[in-house]
Symmetry: none
DNA sequence: GCGCATTGATGGCTGC
DNA sequence: GCAGCCATCAATGCGC
């Protein structure tokens, strides 16, 4: 295992604080993610309550996302081909 | 946020709008989730840049999360026991 | 951890043999997979030697695979919709 | 299996066939890989049906693989040392 | 040595 | 309510 800024003269507490800060930032972000995931579930549940077929709804979302990804993919391929023929993308 | 109940007599276009609203809300939330996920990656990348071992860092996060879950679990069991013996939790 | 056929009267060596057999079958299959993976790498290397752009080649393969998956996906969705409107698929 | 060298003067359609051949060979190999992967899943499923803990089973496989790699690694180092002291490996 | 691509693991959702 | 399935996410390995 390696340690950051392996400098004997360095103030030690700062390293500890830095690590602590990193961990806390990540944990905070993960909490936010969870909150949003829960919101998504809520929306689906509500939709279900309004008579929508959740399974199909999920498919709709997935398809729209896939289409968006495809567009991005096509752009990437185009760039690749342009590079391959010596054009600047 | 409130929503109209699922009324078969309702004007159909409105339902269309409702569906559209649902899809857009979900997609919006998913985008937010992605933004946060990217933020998390950034923090890890930054930590790596500061010499931290990302793999181990992830373990730290995972362990703390597991411990938190376990504590919650223990609390729940404790509450159960307290209720079982007629105590108010 | 649970154990299979937790029967005290059972012949013990058979359990050991069964587990051994499982592990060996998996390891044998994994070896086969590795062989084939190496073959794939060889083909890419050869293609590269013939002047093909491997990165683009990989994209081609990926796109063809994606398209195949999409066709399957569309079939699945069609089935869903048919079911949703009460048709037998 | 042998292949014609990449000759710029070569008839172009043949190159097209060459590309096609490459793609088909790769796709064929990928299919084989998938077949074997499915076989592996089957074995795990069967093991599960016999009461084995799949998660642990996977660990067993992983550990044995790691150990095998380590042994190979040690052999390689040994060979290096033997060569370094003028011994034939 | 880094980034990418594949592969494996985990957790959530659906159907029985 | 649980098992199987699927989708997401992390980890390993490969190539540049």
């Amino acid at each position: 295992m390696t340690y950051p800024r392996n400098d004997p003269d360095m103030d030690e507490p700062i390293q500890g604080n830095q690590l602590k800060s990193i961990v806390e930032r990540i944990e905070r972000l993960e909490e936010e993610k969870k909150t949003i995931s829960d919101d998504v579930k809520e929306v689906y549940a509500e939709a279900k309550g309004n008579g929508y077929d959740v399974k199909i709804l999920r498919r709709v979302i997935a398809i729209r996302k896939r289409d968006a990804n495809e567009r991005a993919e096509e752009e990437a391929i185009l760039d690749l081909y342009l590079q391959a023929v010596g054009e600047t993308a």
